[in-house]
């Protein structure tokens, strides 16, 4: 059953403007927050059990409390560089309810005592960028941003920064590098951004959905948020669903919602003539689940982890029986090869190697032991780099090979596709 906490008023016309937002109870959380002590807000968020919605699922309140206790300037960055293939929830939220995000940002900035924050928005998101920019101007005019917000004595400035179109900048340290004006490359940890981030000052990077959820939590209290979901995965999660289903789109459901129900109720089931074959639950970098595994699963962090995959950013990709897995993997590898920043050797060279291998398997130009090589290369890329991009490229390979090996071998043996006979991967040559 869809449970709209964040997306409650999204269908109201004019909700993306300040007036529309205020009409449905907007900026009450800010007013409430400005009366609280910053430490209390952090405690509240911690108590709500809110976990980062960008992919890693790390506790937000915990992240905030890592900030060193000093008077250094600190920064809040909103990670709106939504590049994960299969994910489009942040765009939806920024287009339809920019003020929700902005309000969440001001509250969070107040909580971590930051005077300056940025929304780092993906370069390709031009429309959301315009909307968010307009919303910020409205907020400035209404006195929600700027000097002495609502008479509380709290000053805050918010800027939007457009990226230049790199997937890797979705990683927080790379985002910081890019924001600093450098090449968008992840930085070594330690030091962590909470200690030394943007301009070498303590920095918190949060996802759009996380910040929007902060608004809801401050409005309704941590206890109300905890009512949804499970003990460890609290609240609701926004999913962007794609694939050959009847109703693709953005849905918000409680965490720990059974996937079978999700597929049948919210997504309206598979399209006529298509059969559910596999599921990528959290954007392209998550390992794939077969239909049997997926139909037994529930959509929460723990259950996904127990199945060896991740909830990630909530980019649910539903793969039907007409899709060739070799082709799909080739497309993914092309993406990661293109997007590797080139800093660490295993990822820089490995992603290229993986793409070449998958494409030669797709074309039927390789030997059977290339499947073993593919697996070996992917396994040795895992966990060897600064950021998680090499893992993101390697995990799908390993899971595709372990679950759909027959399709790969068929491609090599028969020099054609098992499901289609003539798939896209073959057509490349």
């Amino acid at each position: 059953m869809e449970n709209r906490l964040l997306l409650k008023h999204y269908n109201e016309p004019g909700y993306h403007t300040l007036d529309g937002y205020v009409k449905f109870g907007g900026y009450t959380a800010l007013k409430k927050a400005l009366k609280m002590k910053p430490e209390d807000i952090i405690t509240e968020v911690k108590n709500s059990g809110l976990r980062g919605r960008g992919g890693a699922g790390f506790s937000t309140g915990m992240k905030w409390s890592f900030l060193p206790n000093n008077n250094e300037p600190r920064y809040l960055l909103c990670n709106a560089d939504e590049g994960e293939p299969g994910t489009f929830k942040d765009r939806y939220m920024m287009e339809l309810a920019p003020h929700q995000v902005i309000e969440g940002m001001i509250c969070s900035a107040f909580a971590i005592k930051s005077k300056k924050s940025y929304i780092y928005i993906r370069g390709e998101y031009y429309k959301p960028y315009k909307i968010v920019e307009k919303a910020i101007q409205e907020a400035y005019k209404a006195g929600f941003l700027g000097k002495n917000i609502l008479g509380s004595g709290f000053d805050h400035d918010l800027d939007v920064y457009r990226g230049a179109g790199a997937y890797i900048v979705g990683e927080e340290t790379a985002l910081i590098s890019s924001l600093e004006g450098k090449k968008g490359q992840p930085k070594l940890k330690p030091p962590f951004p909470a200690v030394q981030g943007y301009l070498r000052k303590p920095t918190i990077v949060n996802n759009v959905e996380t910040l929007a959820a902060v608004t809801w939590i401050l409005n309704n209290g941590a206890a109300a948020y905890r009512k949804f979901g499970t003990e460890k995965s609290t609240g609701t999660k926004v999913y962007s669903v794609s694939g050959n289903i009847n109703k693709p789109g953005v849905y918000e459901v409680d965490l720990a919602y059974p996937f079978k129900d999700f597929l049948e109720n919210e997504c309206g089931g598979m399209k006529e003539g298509f059969k559910f074959k596999a599921l990528i639950p959290g954007g392209s970098s998550c390992p794939v689940l077969t239909a049997e595994e997926a139909l037994k699963s529930t959509l929460d962090y723990e259950n996904m982890a127990s199945l060896g995959t991740m909830l990630g950013s909530g980019g649910v990709i539903i793969i039907d029986d007409k899709q060739c897995m070799v082709d799909l993997l080739n497309v993914l590898m092309h993406f990661y090869h293109h997007e590797s920043c080139g800093q660490c050797t295993p990822c820089r060279e490995g992603t290229g190697w993986l793409e070449k291998l998958t494409s030669s398997i797709g074309k039927g130009k390789s030997q059977l032991d290339d499947v073993a090589t593919l697996d070996k290369v992917a396994r040795h890329m895992m966990g060897t780099t600064i950021c998680a991009l090499s893992d993101a490229a390697a995990l799908p390979v390993v899971s595709f090979l372990s679950k759909f090996k027959d399709e790969f071998e068929y491609h090599i043996r028969e020099k054609r596709c098992k499901v289609k006979g003539n798939c896209h991967a073959q057509a490349h040559h």
Binding site: A166, K183, L188, P190, H337, H338, E339, S340, C341, G342, Q343, C344, T345, P346, R348, E349, G350, T351, G352, W353, K356, L357, S360, S366, D370, T373, K376, H380, M381, G383, T384, T385, I386
Partner: protein
């Protein structure tokens, strides 16, 4: 001071030290490309993987600070496998043109392949092609295919030389090292990037294709290019000296040296050297006669010196010294002049007065002599005070009959050499001691070949007063002398006059 164990050996290092440095203190080798002691940590090559107990993943040793009770393994199967694969990733797009690569023989890819690799390659796909033999500047050539993008050179230009010429452009395996447009790599420290390049991507134009490195022998000495006294390694073989590279000495030069200093070997090679005694013989009408044995020449010098002394012409004998010789040589020469010749006319020849005290902020100094401090100390010790100005005054007012000149070894460091030689021309008989040919100098009595700094032992005192020793590493001109040998020979042929 945290205590940790690396491969079962306990070690105690300062807090904040990285594991790779701690391992270095134990002489445990950890493979690495991007990490360099003199630069910041990049953590890009992923070769220095070590296993740290209680840590699920392998960690890079260069960016992991030591912690109390840490247990590190650098050599178990898991680590070996990770290093092997990291090396494989480095090599899959490597052009394998070792036959034409200057780095072959001292290439870290080759070394680590022998240590950690030794697999048969599984890469059967097309390699990425990039441009080759690109000129980056006046001294450096880049081969982008060989580059492993360790970013050492980029960090060098940003952190050490602070000239910011180099950058890594593009992404993924299309990454390319290059210079920014209109900013060639022409700073005075550019060849350090060649030294720190672990592979053959950056090569020196000067050394390029001259020799294969395995034909070269190395020996350690000091740079005599300026008063900093950088520690260097000189590579040579029977055909001469081929290159000079810096050697680590934190007190003096750190890890680096300037490009100017790389050229010091040039004036030591045979073609530039004074290789035999030249005598201007009055009997043949003042023509230059070459090839007299050195011992004979010195005997004649000694005899005529002692004759002049006996005639009571003490005032007409002068000694001019440049600061390009060792302390021991000065002592021998001054000893001869003070106690045997008993001449007080000892003058210090200072070069390029205008930029003598200049300093580029890193290493290179305007004082192009290795031993200025040593010379002035020794002169004070013997009570000599004369400078070139004094000599000039004396030489113009009354002519010296006999002038012994310990001339410069590196004549290019003496831009006003010709002018000064004109003043020397006014003196009666000039005994010119030098290691280099000087065809413009006509009015000499003798030219005696001297040893270059590669061929003699002694001490140089740098501008800070740090005493450093040089050793005789090779013999280029066998007949050449050091000042000690010269002084001894003259002393003996003067009959040991006291």
């Amino acid at each position: 001071m945290p205590k940790l164990t690396i491969d079962g050996k306990p070690v105690e290092v300062a807090a904040g030290t990285s594991v790779i440095k701690a391992a270095q203190t134990l002489n445990i080798p950890i493979a690495h490309y991007c990490w360099h002691e003199g630069l910041s940590v990049a953590g890009a090559c992923r070769m220095c993987m070590v296993e740290i107990e209680k840590n699920p993943k392998l960690q890079i040793a260069c960016n992991t600070p030591v912690a109390e009770g840490m247990v590190v393994h650098t050599n178990n199967d898991k680590v070996k496998d990770a290093v092997k694969w990291a090396l494989d990733f480095h090599l899959i797009n490597h052009p394998l043109d070792c036959p034409i690569c200057d780095q072959a023989g001292e290439c870290k890819l080759q070394d680590y392949y022998m240590n950690y690799g030794l697999y048969s390659p599984e890469m059967n796909q097309r390699k990425v092609k990039k441009s080759k033999a690109m000129s980056l500047g006046d001294r450096v050539v880049l081969d982008q295919e060989r580059c492993i993008l360790c970013s050492r050179c980029v960090r060098f230009t940003t952190e050490v030389s602070k000239t910011h010429e180099l950058g890594i452009f593009n992404r993924g395996d299309r990454c390319e090292l290059s210079t920014f447009e209109g900013r060639p790599l022409n700073n005075n420290y550019s060849l350090n990037t060649v030294d720190i390049c672990p592979v053959g991507a950056l090569t020196s134009k000067d050394f390029r294709f001259k020799q294969r490195v395995w034909f070269l022998k190395d020996f350690e000495t000091l740079c005599n290019g300026c008063s900093t006294g950088c520690n260097v390694t000189v590579s040579y073989n029977q055909n001469g000296v081929f290159r000079v590279r810096p050697r680590v000495n934190q007190e003096v030069n750190g890890f680096w040296m300037c490009d100017e200093g790389r050229d010091i070997y040039k004036h030591t090679n045979k073609e530039f050297r004074l290789d035999q005694v030249i005598e201007r013989n009055d009997q043949v009408g003042g023509a230059a006669v070459k090839g007299k044995p050195v011992a004979l020449a010195i005997q004649e010098i000694g005899k005529s010196l002692s004759a002049t002394v006996k005639k009571g012409g003490l005032e007409s004998i002068a000694l001019v010294v440049t600061a390009q010789y060792t302390v021991e040589e000065y002592e021998a020469l001054f000893e001869l002049f003070k106690n045997t010749v008993k001449s007080p006319h000892v003058y210090y020849w200072k070069n390029n007065e205008e930029d003598f005290d200049s300093f580029d902020g890193l290493l290179n100094r305007g004082d192009k002599n290795p031993n200025t401090k040593g010379l002035s100390d020794t002169m004070t010790k013997f009570g000599f005070k004369g400078t070139w100005e004094d000599f000039e005054k004396q030489a113009t007012s009354k002519s010296f009959q006999y002038v012994v000149v310990a001339g410069p070894e590196d004549q290019s460091a003496y831009p006003d050499l010709e002018k000064k030689l004109e003043i020397l021309n006014k003196a009666g008989e000039v005994i010119w001691l030098s290691s280099c040919k000087n065809e413009k100098f006509k009015n000499f009595k003798w030219q005696i070949p001297m040893k270059s700094f590669l061929e003699k032992e002694g001490t140089f005192v740098n501008f800070k007063g740090i005493k450093q020793n040089i050793k005789a590493g090779m013999s280029i001109i066998p007949t050449s002398l050091s000042l000690q040998e010269f002084s001894k020979g003259v002393f003996e042929s003067m009959g040991g006059m006291a």
